[in-house]
Symmetry: C2
Subunit: 340 residues, 2 copies
């Protein structure tokens, strides 16, 4: 592990994307978002995804010319087609459009179809909150998790995001429907460790905290067992219904990598037109104060609100540099055409 200043990370990612064929403006935006994710401590969808994104460009799975176009407008709802453009650009465009609609109608919904991996879902929650809006957003994905009571993977892990703006630090929830990601399983296995709680079933159907057997069976656990399974099913169905786009069983047939052809929903609400920012802050402060002043459990030193850890990591890494894995960093530098 080593620390690299934010600007240097962003510059290297930018160069990697430029070399992969992105224009300057697009590469700049995507490099910023990947770097911000790593700066918040979410490397899984930051630096760690740079090489895969470049690979997808080379395979023709991402259409660098793809731009979201409006298919339909219905009151406060718009359906956009993402034309398999870069997922970050499509999702940012959709978020911003949902904010515009919310500014006009109180609530705005953008339903984006035929898009590609949006990387960190939380990026769009933070963006909405930074602009003073509430957001609820989700994406469906290719299948990677069995439904409850099933052996084979027929559900997406369908990340779900909710955010509420707050002057002292936004509340941002960003969660997939699986208890752990495959990335977390791999990291845990490589360390020779166990998961903190059972993460799935082995190939004989035994619940286990051993990552290896779960990676082999692909029987990762939905959050809350049957509950997360049901939630994933509803998120998938609703994403496809609202976008007039693809559901997980159809994304599975597209064959353009993780999330290639997926459907995303961005709901924005303008609280300034309701109780106002001051009222929103008072509510959110009240909730945060109540939760964070809980008595910590035996193995905990503090109780945090959703978004707190990312914000703290962001401030620290903006000042001290981003902690990067040297292998991943060397890979990004190589893609940028630079020596490590």
């Amino acid at each position: 592990m080593t620390r690299i200043p934010f600007d240097l990370v962003q510059q290297a990612v930018f160069e990697a994307f430029r070399r992969a064929g992105m224009n300057e403006a697009d590469a700049g935006v995507c490099a910023r978002v990947h770097t911000e994710s790593s700066c918040d401590g979410i490397h899984s969808h930051g630096l760690n995804r740079v090489a895969r994104f470049v690979d997808y460009i080379h395979r023709g799975w991402i259409n660098l010319e793809g731009r979201p176009t409006r298919v339909k407008r219905l009151g406060a709802i718009e359906i956009l087609d993402g034309d398999f453009g870069p997922g970050i650009l499509n999702a940012l465009h959709s978020t911003d459009r949902a904010l515009e609609l919310a500014a006009e109608h109180g609530v705005g919904i953008v339903a984006l179809r035929n898009t590609t991996h949006w990387m960190r879902g939380g990026s769009y929650g933070w963006r909405a909150a930074d602009r003073g809006f509430v957001a609820i957003a989700w994406t469906n994905t290719e299948s990677c998790m069995p439904a409850w009571g099933a052996r084979n993977t027929r559900l997406g892990n369908n990340p779900f995001v909710m955010s509420v703006p707050r002057a002292k630090g936004h509340l941002v929830l960003d969660m997939a429907m699986s208890q752990y990601s495959y990335g977390k399983l791999q990291l845990t296995r490589v360390k020779g460790a166990q998961l903190p709680y059972p993460g799935g079933f082995d190939s004989e159907g035994r619940l286990t905290a051993e990552p290896g057997p779960i990676e082999q069976s692909m029987r990762i656990l939905p959050i809350g067992y049957w509950k997360g399974s049901g939630f994933a099913i509803l998120l998938d169905t609703l994403a496809a219904v609202l976008t007039e786009g693809l559901a997980t069983h159809e994304i599975d047939r597209v064959g353009r990598g993780s999330c290639g052809g997926c459907s995303q929903v961005f709901i924005a609400i303008d609280p300034r037109q309701l109780g106002g920012q001051e009222f929103t802050d008072r509510v959110a402060d009240g909730v945060v104060d109540y939760v964070t002043s809980s008595t910590p459990a035996e193995d905990a030193t503090e109780v945090r609100y959703p978004g707190e850890a990312q914000l703290r990591t962001r401030v620290e890494q903006r000042a001290q540099g981003i902690v990067v894995d040297q292998g991943v960093w060397a890979e990004v530098l190589a893609l940028a055409g630079r020596a490590a």
Copy 2:
């Protein structure tokens, strides 16, 4: 256990509510909704809640004259004040108003504050779906669950509902943020059984599937550990922000029983104005077929979609009578002023 025909159950609940002081129309609606919940197999918010509801009336915690009134209108959003009226009536009114707004704007949001327990959240998802609408709804509650990493209860279990209409059977998700309800813990303890999966922590912070120690510690487990904890926090905050109403920490101070003074959100979307009912059916059928044709796990015989079990139970119990616990049934008959 014995079986009682739907109409007889409904009549007895109706009489119990009449004797508690409800007018004929209100008692009729509330009796139907409680009976439908039991008919769908959800006794916990059906027959089992009749006595507690009557008790709340007697204590003055529910205002039988309370009616939802509009506080604010903003485009496709309306804020209503429930005036501590019967939760079912307030929630039905809000659902129907959200559907009207969605018919007009594509999407409609009703934010209802100062209401009381809505009983089964799924009731409102089924109602929207029966009328061809998509629904997303939730309520906050008094605190009953510790946040992740905490010892004491500072989160509501904040039930969350999503539904998509489908000709062959709607998709309806209705889930609380706790892995198990206190009712389930009690039932399991009385049977001398264990929970199927760990349901919380004992008073020393050990994760356990023994219901008794969890009831004592009140350290019930959020679904997905830290994830459900975060989700509960966001649902609470957003409910209070949108309704300009109370959050969990404030409901805790109201002192009018479970959910007295809570905040609820009803989001409706009209899919007929988007892809149309036929398209919605095709998407939902595709998802359902993919999921339900999964290979069952070792201990499963089938894989179901959310809402399937309730619909099946409903059809069976409509024909064969509702299976009721004799103690609960005797209690309802006594409240109705009849001999058991």
